[in-house]
Amino acid sequence: MSAVTVPITAAAPRRGLNLTYLKVELRRLLRNRRTVIFTLVMPPVFFLLFGTVDSYKTDSVGHANVTAWIMISMALYGAILATTSGGASVSIERAQGWTRQLRLTPLSPVTYVATKVISAMVLGLGAVVVTAAVGIPAGADGDMARIVEALVLAWVGSAVFAAFGLFMGYLLPAENVMQILGPVMALLSFAGGLFMPLGDGVFATIAKFVPTYGLAQIVRAPVTDDAVSVWAFVNVIAWGAVFVAGAAWRFRRDTARV
């Protein structure tokens, strides 16, 4: 009677990247109004507000005008905000039990994190492209090859903050972790000299220890004549190592069996 379903096909787990998941993740990011406003709308708006003063268009920072300098800074700001919020979204998904649900499927936790990072980087690219698309017609000018180089560096460098976002996402239990991280990012950006030149005072000394400092220096180097100080590289590498190690540590703890 009770016919037993003998396993006919043992479904083999899929390996590697899951494109369906990546597509869904990107759609989710674009559906989130808060994310879109903070990463794709605010940076170009900030640029238009602060970067298009007439004198900025004529003053040079070396190989581009001040407007371009501000555009690049805003592109970097948008990119790190995008990657941070992309990474930090693991917090909400942990709170909603999604990561636990994933453990009941063949999807590997590594694929999950990789998908998160890649979609965060795509959003970061969106932030850079949108800011440039607004900025160049609005007066950002100079050696275009150098400006593009700076924009590419901004995007690549924002990966450091994807790790930061992941770390915070695993660390903070909050449902809405970006409400904490949003202001933190603004503060870090100010303190790290992303929004204005640092000068030589005490703030410049403090800035060397702020996670955004190194990136800002390196990313803007192509359009300025300033030599990048060794501290900028030390800063990026050290903070990057801290964020990656932290994210890996929390990730392992999160996926460990109790």
Binding site: A10, R28, E93
Partner: protein, 311 residues
Amino acid sequence: MKTETLALDLRGLHKSFGTVRAVDGIDLAVRPGEVVAFLGPNGAGKTTTIDMLLGLADPDAGSVEVLGLEPGAAIAAGRVSAVMQSGGLLKDLTVLETVELTASFFGSARPAAEVMQRAGIADIADRRVGKCSGGQQQRLRFALALLPDPDLIVLDEPTTGMDVEGRRDFWNALRADAARGRTILFATHYLEEADAYADRIVMISHGQVVADGSAAQVKSLTSGRIVSASFGGQLDGGLDEAALRALPGVVDVEVRRERVLVRTTDSDAVARHLLTATHATDVEIAARGLEDAFLALTTDHQNAATQGSLA
């Protein structure tokens, strides 16, 4: 007669959290095709046991085999899936997106339309998960669990927090699926659910199996009434146990210190007998509910009843 691989083989499972022994020596063998209810009050150890059999938690001692495999391997192969109590859904996705996304995690999966049909959510495919009722979300979880076409589905208190209608719809969907011969294990603290939908009921309390048998057998533990009476100091002389057992409807007679407890389906006859033919005093009649059965099974029969006294 061929030897089948058990759908589930738990041996000597132990799991403690601090000083709390959540699971304290559970053995359970489930044959393929069985529909088993894991029945117990809150805190009995049901969820902890389920976490261990799904590989979400490691036992302190004992072994778990799911379809002859280690739990993680069974999940990776899509042989076992689970419907958890709550959570596990992304609220900003639609029902269809959730099903299609989850399907992509498996090497081969049933079509989205099919599992949604079987779970009774085909009509809400485009609804955002966050806008679905608790019952709809639970049927969505069930649809997700059907995707890999697993041999075993485990459900952890699947109808907690659902309204009557949602509960009925959910069980109808599950029952239709069980008819196809899939092995199902569900945890519940509702005896009615266990009785209505399971072939076999495994009762657990304080992390141990206290009864294991057919629904009818376990239900008989909880049906009828208990008539108890005091015999003061004269228990030895004044009580004729055989006479009590001979009364119509009497299931069991038990003596605890100076009181006699009679489990019966005809409490009137027992009371009349006690009051007219014996020296009994303080006669009490109480309905025998599930809680009482749990209490009886765990406090008095602790040793005798462990593991399959009814099986």
